[in-house]
């Protein structure tokens, strides 16, 4: 490309990069400002690093508790999703039995339905099980709604694995269970990583499920990060703690961004593979 042309494409690319990063940088800077600095001029830099904003957000605005709740729910749900999803995907990919097609389409068909359709009945199903406003309830729901895509993706993935290894193991007297855990699961690692990253982001970033399932008296203690942060944004107007809000936002944002920067290759290829399947 000619020199002016190259310059031109650089300008466009830099402009979009700025549009992407400036809001994020602005939020991080805001977390160090005093309320006065926030209220006077949005472009003003903080006079010093006020870590006390972070402490206030973590303790008084309960961001720390919400963070922990999110971590507990996603750890549990992700483990459950991957285990159950791999089990179902493996059986559907490698065994023939009556009702095979029905089970497969029951799982895969779940991807067609908008979650909003299930919202009202789901609320009552969870309430009737006594799980409304509890972390185990949310964990089970996250795992259940991650299953359609996980099973669909892993069924396809297990089909691509060579059957010669499995046959050799069977000849050596390896049972069905040992074959799965010792041989097939390790071989499926790349697929598990892709779908695991996808599920982690899906579950960590959930919004509508927690606000529906973690409501009612006393549920605030069990709120997850997404919910706690938006509640903070709504209340901020009354309390006037702008810097606390920015600090809360930064605390919620940085760990995921840091994780992404470390594993950006895996994250990008994982999500792209998940979408194109």
């Amino acid at each position: 490309m000619s020199r002016p042309g190259r310059l031109c494409s650089h300008v466009f690319l830099v402009v979009w990069a700025l549009l992407t990063t400036l809001p994020l940088v602005w939020a991080v800077l805001g977390s160090f400002k005093s309320d006065d600095e926030i209220l006077t001029d949005p472009w003003r830099l903080p006079a010093r690093l006020r870590w006390e904003n972070w402490a206030r957000a973590w303790n008084e605005a309960h961001i720390g508790r919400y963070f922990l709740n999110s971590a507990i729910v996603v750890t549990g749900a992700l483990t459950l999703t991957m285990l159950l999803g791999a089990m179902a995907g493996y059986v559907l990919a490698r065994y023939r039995f009556r009702g095979h097609r029905v089970v497969y389409f029951a799982f895969a068909g779940g991807m067609m339905f908008p979650v909003f359709l299930a919202l009202v009945p789901l609320f009552f199903v969870v309430r009737n099980l006594g799980l409304l406003g509890t972390l185990p309830g949310l964990t089970l729901v996250y795992a259940a709604y991650s299953l359609p895509f996980t099973v669909f993706f892993l069924t396809a993935f297990f089909r691509t694995l060579p059957s010669s290894v499995a046959e050799a193991a069977m000849v050596d007297g390896c049972g069905h269970f040992a074959l799965f855990f010792r041989v097939m699961l390790p071989m499926a690692r790349p697929g598990l990583v892709s779908v695991g990253i996808f599920n982690f982001l899906f579950q960590w970033n959930q919004y509508v499920l927690p606000i529906v399932l973690l409501q009612g008296a006393g549920a605030e203690r069990r709120w997850v990060l997404a919910q706690g942060l938006t509640a903070l944004a709504v209340n901020e107007g009354y309390r006037g703690d702008f810097s606390g809000l920015f600090a809360g936002m930064t605390i919620a944002m940085l760990p995921v961004l840091a994780g992404y920067l470390i594993f950006h290759r895996q994250v990008q290829s994982g999500l792209a593979a998940a979408q194109l399947r």
């Binding site: 494409s9 994020l24 949005p42 089970v103 609320f123 359609p148 792209a272 979408q275």
Partner: protein, 301 residues
């Protein structure tokens, strides 16, 4: 083989149980509840047949919300895909062209990493961040306009019914473009370089190669992108609820927010389920229309 049947049962029953209780049964119940006047407080309800759907047809708030989803459905995929294609082609073929061929732009890796940022942030963070960005006095947008002397353009973005909805659309585009830059970029990598080089030798401009070569070769990826963006456009709930809460005066309302408010604000669970059923058929018809359109496309090709 008893061992095999036991194995299949042990591996399939736990996922099926979880799935049946929390996914299949709610979906099935939704259609049933949509035919009742259930208000959730007592177990009593009456079947009202299609009354909820009749009410839906005459509900101005529902149509208002649906219209907004319709606009999102038209504009979000188009804007995101065009911007994504443009930036992706800038990155992968925007660099030098010399005897060794067409190069990617310098710093391509950095752009791909940075553009992807919004994709890993939760929709709650994106919503809260942009709510602050649009804030009339403390927000970065008005702050920037004032800093460059465009005070006249600074306005209470989210407080003005003329702008609130478009503010939401901007956030949705902002949040999604990066992913498609990466997706399209990956697809462009698999297009043989010599195709571009041949086209450039024949005197084709960059714009022509984008329209005549890149887009046709990426058509399958673009279709997938369109489906996903359409699903996001039919939803739109989280960003709208956080940034504008459907306001001011319903100017940015969407169907998902209507459902949420009807159910968990007004406790009209029967009617809310009917809205859910409407959303389902909307999704389904978009999918069917799309499949038919692309199917014909394939046959003709």
């Amino acid at each position: 083989m008893r061992g095999k049947r036991l194995f299949i049962a042990v591996f399939l029953l736990p996922p099926l149980l979880l799935y049946g209780v929390f996914v299949v049964s709610p979906y099935a119940q939704a259609f049933q509840i949509a035919g009742t006047d259930w208000r959730g407080l007592s177990p009593e309800f009456e079947f009202v047949g299609a009354d909820n759907f009749r009410r839906l047809l005459g509900d101005g708030y529902f149509w208002n919300a649906l219209r907004h989803n319709g606009v999102l459905l038209l504009l979000l995929p188009v804007a995101t895909i065009l911007l994504g294609l443009f930036l992706a082609s800038m990155i992968s073929v925007g660099g030098r062209a010399d005897r060794a061929g067409v190069h990617g732009v310098r710093g391509a890796g950095v752009y791909r990493v940075v553009y992807f940022f919004p994709q890993v942030l939760s929709v709650a963070i994106i919503g809260v961040l942009w709510k602050e960005m649009y804030a009339p006095h403390t927000g970065l947008i008005n702050g920037t306009l004032r800093a460059v002397g465009l005070d006249g353009l600074a306005r209470p973005w989210l407080g003005d019914p003329r702008f609130a909805f478009w503010c939401v659309l901007v956030v949705l585009v902002w949040a999604n473009v990066g992913f498609y830059v990466v997706l399209f970029g990956a697809a462009m990598q698999s297009i043989p370089r010599d195709i571009y080089e041949a086209a450039l030798l024949d005197g084709a401009s960059r714009a022509t190669t984008l329209v005549r070569i890149t887009v046709p070769l990426l058509w399958d990826t673009i279709q997938v992108a369109w489906v996903y963006l359409a699903i996001i456009a039919i939803d739109g709930f989280a960003v709208v609820q956080i940034i504008t809460d459907g306001g001011p005066s319903y100017s940015s309302d969407v169907v998902g927010l209507r459902l949420y408010r009807t159910a968990f604000g007004d406790a009209q669970f029967g009617y809310a389920s009917a809205i859910g059923v409407a959303m389902f058929f909307l999704t389904l018809s978009v999918a069917v229309l799309f499949l038919r359109a692309t199917h014909r496309d394939r046959v003709e090709r």
